[in-house]
């Protein structure tokens, strides 16, 4: 542990040289911009800037590219809160309460809480990275296909009713998500499924198209349906003193932030869709333990603070498997792996000993970067919050325009734009009949992974279902799922007996 501290000090020495600070700042600024623009995610952003780093030394290059990654995670919540447009998987949950807060004139506190929560969670994540990273990375290897399957089942059952409004409607939407998730190439045989001969459907439905469609476009359509005079009244204009969170807001947020950071860090270590599971779990837990669960979905600050912190801390801990095992668990870290390779650094078991200046320099720069992002983002809060002052008749078409251009930049595909508009229509109908988008998106992300893990497990075990219960970790997740399913019944009995006692 002492040795780690010493290394970290050396790392700070490397990261605080003027030119590395400059690259860190550049990365953070570019990342924030990329995060704020819907569509262009960290993946495209990093890939576009890789050639620009050819002339740099590897440490500076990775400092800048990593800055883009976590900068984009910071910025990603902005469009979710202001416009209900989630730019990536991680910010879907933020839409729910963040957007409601903005509609009530509290966009400022929501944005500021995101920045503060991200900073605290990022800091915790980095300390975890320094002190407990290497042993934890090895633990992730214990997750094989059966464990993975049970984890997905657990996540699926527990998280599908994330907003807690109607279990039946949530499960219905989850099934729709599962069905959409089967479109594309069969993961085991490589055959085309439900593509109707279209080559565009071979790769499956693009997640971002569904997310932006259901949330962003759907919201715009709902607004369009309203009478014009009613429309302009709906958004309360924030006053200056309301732009930043009050002491009460902060008090309410600190618990969710710390819990979110813990959840995110743990989930980020496990291979899989970490941002989704981390943000959904954090939201679920905050709603369950809140004294005012009825506020959730109507603009509860806890519902923004928790998931945003979970997301940021998951994004930091995703660097552990990348650096220690050389294996990217998430797409953005896969791009970073490519960038490391092109600079002649192969992440893996030998990286920390072979390139200590890079490893510790990048870690230290992440800490500095988080601080830069905090002081960079807070002054922008009023600016962003004022976007909502724009009259709706101008703002709504602009949102559509942003969504379309943003969507195109994801895969350079016009087909994705049509998909997004189609799901916009679906989102409009769902909203009218009070169906929720969040369970559908969860199922769309988890479904294909669940299927692969299930089929892999049975292929390895030669069709023996015992593989799921004979392995301790897998068994634990299945047990937890079962307990979760009967828990409400037990609690009901418990409540009854307590009442009887009094």
């Amino acid at each position: 542990m002492f040795e780690s501290l010493q290394h970290l000090m050396t790392g700070f020495g490397i990261a605080t040289t003027i030119h590395n600070l400059l690259y860190c700042l550049t990365g953070a600024i570019v990342g924030t911009l990329i995060g704020v623009l819907p569509g262009i995610g960290p993946i495209a952003g990093i890939a576009l800037l890789i050639p620009a780093t050819f002339g740099l030394n590897p440490t500076s290059a990775i400092i800048m590219l990593a800055g883009i990654y976590y900068g984009a995670m910071y910025g990603g919540s902005t469009t979710s809160i202001l416009l209900n447009v989630p730019g990536e998987t991680a910010s879907v949950i933020t839409c729910i309460d963040g957007y409601q807060m903005a509609q009530k004139g509290r966009a400022g506190p929501a944005l500021a809480t995101c920045a503060i929560g991200s900073f605290i969670a990022g800091t915790i994540g980095i300390f975890g990275l320094v002190f407990i990273a290497p042993p934890l990375a090895e633990a992730a290897l214990a997750f094989g296909p059966p464990e993975y399957f049970s984890l997905m089942v657990f996540g699926f059952i527990v998280l599908s009713n994330v907003t807690g409004i109607s279990l039946i409607k949530s499960l219905m939407m989850a099934v729709v998500g599962l069905i959409i998730g089967t479109i594309g190439l069969d993961p085991v045989t490589g055959d085309a499924r439900f593509t109707f001969g279209s080559i565009y459907l071979l790769g499956g439905i693009e997640f971002v198209a569904v997310a932006i469609g259901l949330f962003g476009i759907g919201e715009v359509l709902i607004n369009v349906e309203k009478p014009a005079d009613l429309l302009e009244q709906r958004v309360l204009i924030p006053r200056l003193r309301e732009l930043y969170p009050t002491l009460r807001d902060l008090k309410r947020s600190i618990g969710p932030i710390l819990r979110g950071a813990g959840i995110g860090f743990g989930v980020g270590l496990v291979p899989g869709p970490a941002p989704v599971i981390a943000t959904y779990s954090s939201y679920m837990i905050e709603r369950k333990i809140s004294k005012n669960p009825e506020e959730f979905g109507k603009g509860a600050i806890e519902g923004v603070a928790g998931p945003e912190s979970a997301n940021n801390s998951a994004c930091q801990s995703a660097f552990i498997p990348l650096f220690v095992l050389g294996i990217p668990f998430a797409p953005p870290t896969a791009i970073l792996l490519g960038a490391l390779l092109i600079h002649g650094v192969s992440p893996g078991p030998l990286m920390i000993s072979q390139h200590p200046e890079l490893f510790w320099g990048v870690i230290a720069s992440m800490y500095i970067g988080n601080f830069i992002l905090l002081i960079l983002n807070l002054p922008f809060v009023p600016l962003f919050a004022n976007i909502l002052r724009t009259p709706k008749k101008i703002l709504l078409p602009l949102i559509i325009l942003f969504c379309i251009t943003g969507m195109f930049t994801v895969n350079n595909s016009v087909f994705d734009i049509w998909m997004m508009l189609l799901f916009g229509g679906v989102g409009f109908l769902m909203r009218k009949w009070a169906y929720e988008g969040a369970p559908l998106l969860l199922a769309l992300v988890l479904g294909p992974k669940l299927e692969v893990a299930f089929r892999q497990s049975l292929m390895i075990s030669h069709g023996d279902f015992g593989v799921f219960v004979n392995r301790p970790i897998s068994m634990a997740f299945l047990l937890a799922t079962a307990i979760f399913l009967i828990f409400p019944a037990i609690r009901l009995m418990f409540k009854k007996s307590k009442k009887g006692g009094i």
Binding site: D186, P187, G203, I327, P331, I335, I342, M459
Partner: protein
């Protein structure tokens, strides 16, 4: 970066003013379509090659990613591009696999080969503590226990899956093939002991071999690895088999031969450039130059081979 954008805009504005003349090729920048997402091995290699080739070609080389449909979207678009030499595509092994697996509008015959740049050998990795010390022990066990050894691959019907299928045919054994969502996850599963072996091509897993956690049990190249000179190829050990994955550049059918020649010469120089040589070495990719004719033959023979393998697999 900004400067580059302005210079591109400037070039565009000039193009608007000047009448397009079929004078000396190239008069504008050359585009390489990558049918996969940014950041993958193919993307990185051609971005690096494009960066060094620009100066020999006289115009910039721009990489455009058109991912989707396991590569089919990008190839379909590339096939329909103007055959004027300004739109190239990265032609890699799956180009000769996809048409057998799903209904595609294209095959390799819809493209003209320009140059092959990379050929990565296939290989099997096992854990260092695995019971098999040599290829012979591995194959003996597989012969006695057909369908028992689990071999991970990066995806059903992908390059390394088919290499594994071809190898089991050549060696007369049967493995239990487990598909994963990419090379990374398959290597992770091997490290965790969830599968017995994986079929990969470098640089996947190389770092773990260097660290002594994994070892190469079967190497499918003609020559030994520079990095691991002590690892023998399977050919040396009596299994007549060698196979790898190639990455080259192709142009739409009907591109004039003199344009192909100009492109080939420029990219050849770009390949020989010390900067690109260093990039390739750092990425641990195996550079393997082939001219248009040899590259075309390679695509034709692989197309036929994969067709047979997939037919057998789907039976």
């Amino acid at each position: 970066m900004l400067k580059r954008i302005f210079s591109i805009l400037f070039v565009f504005s000039l193009m608007m003013v000047m009448p397009l003349q079929a004078a000396e090729f190239p008069t504008k920048e050359v585009q390489i379509i990558i049918p996969w997402a940014a950041g993958g091995a193919t993307d990185l290699i051609f971005r690096a090659l494009g960066a060094t080739t620009g100066k020999y070609l006289g115009k910039a080389v721009v990489v455009v990613n058109k991912p989707g449909g396991a590569g089919t979207v990008g190839y379909t678009e590339a096939m329909k591009a103007q055959p004027d030499g300004y739109t190239l595509t990265s032609g890699i092994t799956p180009l000769t696999i996809l048409p057998h697996n799903v209904k595609t509008a294209f095959t390799y015959k819809d493209f003209e080969p320009v140059i092959n740049v990379v050929s990565d050998p296939g290989m099997f990795l096992v854990r260092s503590d695995s019971p098999w010390k040599s290829l012979k022990e591995f194959l003996d066990y597989a012969k006695k226990n057909p369908d028992i050894i689990t071999v991970g691959n990066s995806g059903a019907g992908g390059g390394v899956h088919l290499i594994a299928l071809a190898f089991e045919k050549a060696a007369g054994v049967k493995f239990n093939h487990i598909p994963f969502a990419g090379g990374g996850p398959s290597v992770t599963a091997l490290l965790g002991g969830h599968v017995n072996a994986v079929s990969v091509s470098p640089p996947e897993g190389i770092e773990h071999v260097k660290a002594g956690k994994l070892k190469i049990i079967a190497l499918f190249s003609e020559k030994r690895f520079e990095m691991f000179p002590e690892v023998p190829t399977v050919k040396e050990q009596g299994v007549d088999f060698a196979m790898g994955q190639w990455r080259g550049l192709i142009a739409p059918k009907g591109t004039p031969p003199d344009v192909i020649k100009k492109l080939h010469d420029a990219f050849k120089k770009g390949m020989d450039d010390p900067v690109f040589q260093k990039n390739a070495k750092d990425m641990a990719v195996n550079l393997h130059y082939l001219g248009p004719e040899a590259f075309g033959k390679l695509m034709a023979s692989d197309h036929e081979l994969f067709g047979k393998l997939i037919k057998e697999m789907k039976k």
